[in-house]
Amino acid sequence: MSDVLVLSARCLRLSRRQIDALTTAVLLPVMLMVVFVELFGGAIQTGGKYVTYVVPGVIVLCAGFGSALTAVSVCQDATGGIVERFRAMDVHGATLLSGHVVASILRNAVSTTLVIAVALALGFRPDADPPRWIAAVGILLAFVAAVSWLAAAIGLLARSPEAANGSTFLIMFLPYASSAFVPVHTMPHWLQGFARHQPITPLTETLRSLLLGTPVGSDAWIGLAWCAGILAVSVAAAGALFARRST
């Protein structure tokens, strides 16, 4: 356990010093939110203030941007010499990857806090009591953990850090084809089926309900089931990929 802490401190130190990648992970979601709220928001009808609608979506998008940095860092470790040193020291693959995931969750906490702070400045007014805030943080944590493990698996699969960076585009694209930025019923008919039944929509809807004080419904369980599924598959895949790199 203390190895995980040492390694996540290492990951955070490394990511603090990769200014360009860190900028993408932390500042880009904020900039995108400003673009959506101030430039596109006026033209999007969601039946209320657009900033209120879009904040949960941007928070989910944050996890996508953060995943790129996680995948790249894991790939850098796996393709460099340092993983051999860790293995020769009997540091397990699961421990090393957990370090990356913990660092990824902490980076996400920073970017999410920043997004919410800027959103408040832009007029976002959440209506949630403490239990709802806790529930929102919990479901977000589940999602970020799942996405971080998925990114770790992608990082182990990719042959180079550049390829790892590119391969996370799907995670970054998914929020656009969901209810994160526009209501699903405004989309073309052929896309609505996909948008309703992919993981981002129930997660965004759950966050939205929790933050705005409206009834949550079954979306929470569907969203959590998605997180559990992604987490299970990613952890298993990461384990297998790490072992494969070791022969």
Binding site: R10, R13, G80, I82
Partner: protein, 320 residues
């Protein structure tokens, strides 16, 4: 370390193939505790594969080995606590400072925050990196990075230290510094297992040298043994046409390595010392008129391989 205890490394019949191509084909070797052992061989001989198997980073297809008193398969976890590995590629974080790199390794090795800080400072001092301690490793020169890498392998004092081609990519000065550091370790009782493709490196550092070719050991002994048996220095001569060539060959007898009557060239075994070379020249050419030209050739890895295996290391070489 003159005990009758178990050897630090004991391998028998290690085999490993990649896609049906054997890389190790029955590797058997023994390294005494507290000694320096060099595995000498060209690129592709299987040196790195051997080290990675012995350091438990790679599973062998067959054979057995014990390292630092532990079986490489059954006691992997204990074994890993008793060894350190400095691989062929420098394994430090470029974005961490020298001190941060070493402290992190100390923490992962189970030292407390304070102990890992003290150990890091100690090692930085010892490897001449104290002034660069607060700089990121990415700004270090190749030699400094290598030394930091070596320091990282010594944060906890290992029983056996594996060094895979430690001087690859180093300039001559850094190479000497590295050799000094290794010599110091041996003084502290560490067993060093190194691989190299340079005969002079093995010569300088190792108590015993094993030559690896085609995945097996083809010769083993002290540096002197190998030099005597395998690849001596030689004196190459071209003689003037008026010298009775074949008569000279008779008196050289066992020392003659090569003779070509048409070109009037010959090669003679020598220890490379001035006394021996002068004596040879005097014997062959008492008047000082018969030798047209001569050259002293140092033994090379290619010579070792040519003698031992009948083939060269793969580089284009023109043997006389």
């Amino acid at each position: 370390m003159e005990t009758v205890s178990e050897p630090a490394v004991l391998a028998s019949g290690l085999r490993k193939s990649y896609g049906g191509v054997p890389v190790l084909d029955g590797l058997t070797l023994e390294v005494a505790g507290g000694s320096v052992f060099a595995l000498l061989g060209p690129n592709g001989a299987g040196k790195t594969t051997a080290v990675r198997i012995l350091a438990t980073l790679l599973d062998a297809d067959g054979g057995d080995a014990r390292v630092a008193g532990c079986d490489i398969r059954r006691e992997r976890s204990t074994l890993r606590k008793r060894i350190s590995l400095t691989g062929q590629y420098v394994a430090v974080d470029d974005l961490q400072t020298g001190a941060e790199n070493l402290r992190m390794i100390g923490r992962l090795a189970g030292l407390s925050v304070g102990a890992s800080r003290r150990r890091a400072d100690e090692l930085l001092e010892r490897f001449g990196l104290a002034e660069a301690a607060a700089r990121r490793a990415g700004t270090y020169s190749g030699g400094m990075r290598r030394r930091l890498d070596l320091a990282a392998s010594l944060v906890t004092q290992p029983d056996v230290l594996f060094l895979d081609e430690p001087s690859t990519g180093l300039d001559p000065t850094s190479r000497l510094q590295l050799w000094d550091a290794v010599a110091e370790l041996v003084g502290a009782g560490v067993t060093v297992f190194l691989t190299t493709q340079y005969l002079d490196e093995a010569d300088r550092l190792a108590d015993r040298i094993a030559v690896l070719d085609g995945g097996r050991i083809v010769a083993e002994g002290t540096a002197d043994d190998l030099k005597r048996r395998v690849a001596e220095d030689r004196l190459e001569l071209r003689l003037h046409s008026d010298v009775p060539f074949s008569e000279l060959l008779v008196c050289l007898d066992g020392r003659l390595l090569h003779a070509d009557p048409t070109e009037r060239t010959l090669a003679v075994r020598t220890d490379g010392g001035a006394r021996d070379v002068r004596a040879l020249l005097d014997m062959l050419d008492p008047d000082g008129t018969g030798v047209a030209e001569f050259a002293l050739q140092k033994a090379t890895l290619d010579d070792v391989f040519l003698t031992l295996t009948g083939h060269t290391t793969g580089k284009e070489t023109a043997h006389v």
